[in-house]
């Protein structure tokens, strides 16, 4: 079952990346690897990624609590808002942070990275949190534990797999963040990602880029292996249950956490509101046009439709791959960790490397995929699949194996077991994963900018283009397009939330 996703990964990720790195491998590799400049790059890259990950987790946990455990009005909307940062193009968010924190510097990079990734933590952790049986906690409380004690000794250990999962993803995203570092680093702070781009695209220094790509891969694999080991020690079967019984009105000290969560939401909204305030009525009207002096080849609305179409395809492909991998990962023995790490790799490799890799490999496939519009959703699926695995896997692994065994003993076929045990318990996470994946695909910029055809740009690509051309109308239109992206995201999230409640009633 793991073979399908692995084959896909090999074809659309491993092969292109190995080919492009292979082009650059020379003796000179060692010069780059041993230079002090390179190692300060590695240090800064990992340092800012680690700091961003910590900030994202600290800010994301109260949100996860709010989403998983509290029955409060407006919960669906909050769930949607949390997703918004993910779809905003990094260029625009970078500019918004620049406007809010004119000084720039390391902190603005860390905060902007965290801004993008709080959603990963909130979504991944709340998925598991909502399924954990509340009674263990209540028992601890009944035995005299304080709320905090009950959390640290009962709930937190149970959540660790999800937190580890989220941390791994956030760390990868942050260590390869490109636009944010470029804009907020003021050309002064550099990471492996920006340097690989510079060497590949501007200087044609393929050997240098190859050396840095290898370092990037090594760093990513190390981080993933550490994450996997940490998760493994914590993995244990949990008693999962449906969401109805786990969410309730907060009581007592829980209100403090809820307050903190609202604070985080307010902070998340600040850059978003800043962006929306830059758009204007003229900008919105312009969305039905192609911009000042026809800056776009299609109208803004057409670009939005392209975005939604491509994201749908990408999500469907990624769901198939993600579910297959997750199910396989729960069944595989020792090789599971290997497959797990492999599926995560695309998040940690530069989009430039993959994009140029496609150019020199995919023409060998029938139909010259290099120029096919199909390539965009395929490339997006590569990025989305690991996220889906990360959301599904903690839940699937927490399912008590004895439930499956019991079903088996009662005469159910493996397929039936899966349908009757795994699916109902994981359904909620599956929908979460789909929504999240869709939103990520909607906002994906790196790979898409390489592959999208000019007559079919996605909305983030159109925004990037509008903002890079003079003319006040283009500027306003770009911000209006951002607002449109926010609206589409919120609408999709709310819609899926409704859909999810429907699923649960089946």
């Amino acid at each position: 079952m793991a073979l399908v996703p692995l084959a896909f990964l090999t074809l659309f990720f491993a092969w292109p990346v190995v080919a492009i790195i292979g082009l650059g491998v020379r003796v000179q590799l060692f010069d780059t690897l041993t230079s002090a400049d390179t190692w300060s790059l590695v240090g800064f890259t990992l340092g800012q990624a680690a700091a961003s990950t910590v900030v994202a987790i600290v800010a994301g946990m109260p949100l996860a609590f709010l989403l998983a455990r509290c029955r409060l009005p407006g919960r669906g909307l909050i769930q949607a808002i949390v997703l918004v940062p993910f779809v905003l193009p990094t260029v625009v968010v970078g500019l918004a942070f620049r406007g809010l924190m004119p000084g720039g510097g390391v902190w603005s990079i860390v905060l902007a990275n965290a801004f993008f990734n709080v959603a990963v933590v909130a979504r991944t952790v709340s998925g598991l949190w909502a399924s954990i049986d509340r009674r263990a906690e209540d028992a601890a409380r009944a035995l005299g534990a304080t709320r905090l004690r009950a959390f640290t000794s009962v709930t937190l250990p149970a959540l660790t797999p999800a937190i580890g999962s989220a941390a791994a993803v956030v760390f990868l995203f942050c260590s390869t963040s490109f636009g944010v570092v470029l804009i907020l680093g003021g050309a002064e702070y550099r990471t492996l990602e920006t340097e690989i781009y510079l060497r590949t695209v501007q200087l044609f220094d393929l050997p240098g880029a190859a050396a840095l790509s290898i370092l990037q891969l090594a760093a990513v694999v190390t981080a993933l292996v550490i994450g996997a080991v940490a998760r493994k020690r914590r993995q244990a079967a949990l008693k999962l249950s449906g969401s109805k019984e786990t969410a309730r009105r907060p009581v007592g000290g829980e209100w403090v956490v809820v307050g903190v969560a609202y604070g985080v939401i307010a902070l998340l909204l600040t850059p978003i509101v800043h962006l929306i305030s830059q758009s204007s009525l003229a900008g919105f009207r312009a969305l039905s046009s192609t911009g000042h002096d026809n800056s776009l080849e299609v109208t803004g609305f057409r670009a939005a439709l392209n975005s939604m179409g491509t994201a749908t395809d990408a999500t469907v492909i990624a769901l198939i791959l993600g579910v297959l991998s997750s199910v396989a990962l729960t069944r595989l023995g020792k090789t599971a960790e290997f497959v797990d790490v492999a599926m995560m790799l695309p998040l940690g490799v530069s989009a430039v490397t993959v994009g140029f890799g496609y150019l020199i490999t995919l023409d060998a496939l029938p139909g010259d995929l290099r120029t096919s519009p199909l390539l965009v959703p395929l490339a997006q699926a590569i990025v989305v699949t690991p996220l889906i695995i990360r959301i599904l896997l903690p839940v699937l692994r927490s399912i008590d194996e004895r439930l499956r065994q019991a079903a088996g003993t009662l005469g159910a076929s493996p397929w039936r077991v899966w349908l009757e045990v795994d699916v109902p318990l994981a359904a909620r996470s599956l929908v979460t994963a789909a929504a999240f994946g869709y939103v990520v695909a909607l906002g994906e910029f790196g790979a898409t900018s390489f592959l999208a055809r000019p007559d079919a740009p996605t909305l983030p690509i159109a925004i990037g283009r509008l903002i890079s051309r003079p003319g006040e109308l283009n500027n306003q239109m770009a911000y209006a397009a951002c607002t449109l992206l926010v609206v589409v995201t919120v609408a999709v999230a709310v819609l899926i939330e409704r859909f999810r409640t429907t699923v649960e009633e089946f």
Binding site: L23, V91, L95, R98, G99, L182, I183, G185, G186, A187, E188, T194, L198, T200, V201, Q202, L203, F204, D205, H292, D293, N294, S295, E297, L305, N306, G309, T310, A311, T312, D313, F356, L359, I360, D363, R370, T371, P373, L374, P377, S449, F450, L451, R453, P454, D455, A456, R465, I467, S468, R469, P470, G471, E472, N475, L495, I496, R498, F499, T502
Partner: protein
């Protein structure tokens, strides 16, 4: 309500599916694939007109900037992704020529003045000068600067914002402009003066022009490195014509093109009176063809800078670029 939501979701999914709605271009006539960068723009009607008169459907493929484009052409040399390429500029020309990406073709309409290669593998299509732009009323009574030297004058302290040559193409052009003006030995000196005068460095044009520059209404700095053409789109600004660096954009028929004959016709089309006349408003650059009038607004606010020699030889740029940028980095940001 819930049923409706589900139905809507299904509908969105079905309607949104891009794979199902993909259309095949009609198979009539021949097809030429034009590989270019993100800034390429042409009016649809003009392409349709060309299609009618020549029978050639032009399929445009854009990716990245001039650097990404050149790199792409080099990497796909063995199995090219198109027939004709537009957008390799003077900075990247020698790289493309050394790698033999293009085949020789002398278009009857080529302007010899901008010839870069003896064998005509590249043909100049447009000129784009990078110049310091000034927001006239943002100067608050200080007289307009004129030259590179003026910019280092304390009168203009904390007024200039530039793009990093490491990450931005106008930023690189400005650096090259200072190398040309002050020579191999003098440019570092000049940048030391600029630094002391409070020059601000940002990573890209978007940020410099839309956020830091006062001419677009948001920033605080009245001087910015941009294009000679920018004032045509932004009122109350103008280009300082003595601070310009000339960048020429070329087109060429790709070596190993599947449809080389068609590619040649497309190249001729790009040099035609009609295409050239629209180049300013479509791409914010100047036509190479002699006798093509600029749009009226341009004639007033964004005339073509006079000095055609304001550029360094392509080989020099190719050879020294990395070391200049590195030296610049340790000087200005170290």
């Amino acid at each position: 309500m819930r049923k409706a939501a589900v139905a809507l979701l299904v509908l969105v999914t079905a309607a949104g599916c891009s794979l199902a709605t993909e259309q095949k271009p009609s198979g009539e006539g021949q097809k030429v694939t034009l590989v270019t960068h993100d800034s390429f723009n042409v009016r649809k009607e003009l392409l349709e007109e060309f299609q009618k008169s020549s029978g050639i459907t032009v399929e445009v493929r854009k990716s990245g900037d001039a650097g990404a484009l050149t790199n792409q052409l080099v990497l796909t040399k063995a199995n090219p992704i198109g027939d004709v390429a537009f957008g390799v500029d003077s900075t990247f020309a020698s790289r493309a020529l050394n790698e033999n990406v293009f085949q020789a073709y002398q278009s009857p309409d080529a302007n010899k003045r901008y010839q870069v290669d003896d064998t005509n593998r590249l043909t100049a299509v447009d000129i784009g000068d990078v110049c310091v732009n000034v927001h006239t009323s943002g100067l608050k009574g200080v007289p307009e600067p004129k030259t590179f030297d003026d910019l280092a004058n304390p009168q203009y302290k904390d007024m200039l914002v530039v793009e990093s040559p490491a990450t931005s193409s106008p930023g690189l052009a400005f650096l090259l402009g200072t190398v040309m003006r002050f020579g191999e030995n003098g440019w570092k000196d000049y940048w030391t003066r600029l630094k002391a005068n409070g020059v601000k460095v940002v990573s890209g044009w978007e940020e410099a022009y839309n956020q830091e520059f006062s001419g677009t209404g948001k920033g605080a700095r009245p001087l910015v490195v941009s294009y000679a053409s920018s004032p045509a789109a932004t009122p109350d600004t103008k280009a300082l014509l003595d601070t310009c660096y000339r960048q020429i954009e070329y087109a060429g028929v790709i070596q190993g093109a599947k449809n080389a004959d068609g590619a040649k016709k497309v190249l001729d089309f790009m040099l035609s009176q009609k295409f050239q006349a629209e180049v300013p408003e479509q791409m914010y650059v100047y036509p190479v063809r002699e006798g093509v009038a600029l749009p009226e607004a341009w004639q007033k606010s964004a005339p073509l800078p006079g000095d055609p020699e304001a550029t360094l030889p392509a080989q020099d740029v190719d050879r020294n670029r990395e070391s200049w940028v590195n030296q610049w980095r340790s000087l200005v940001q170290g």
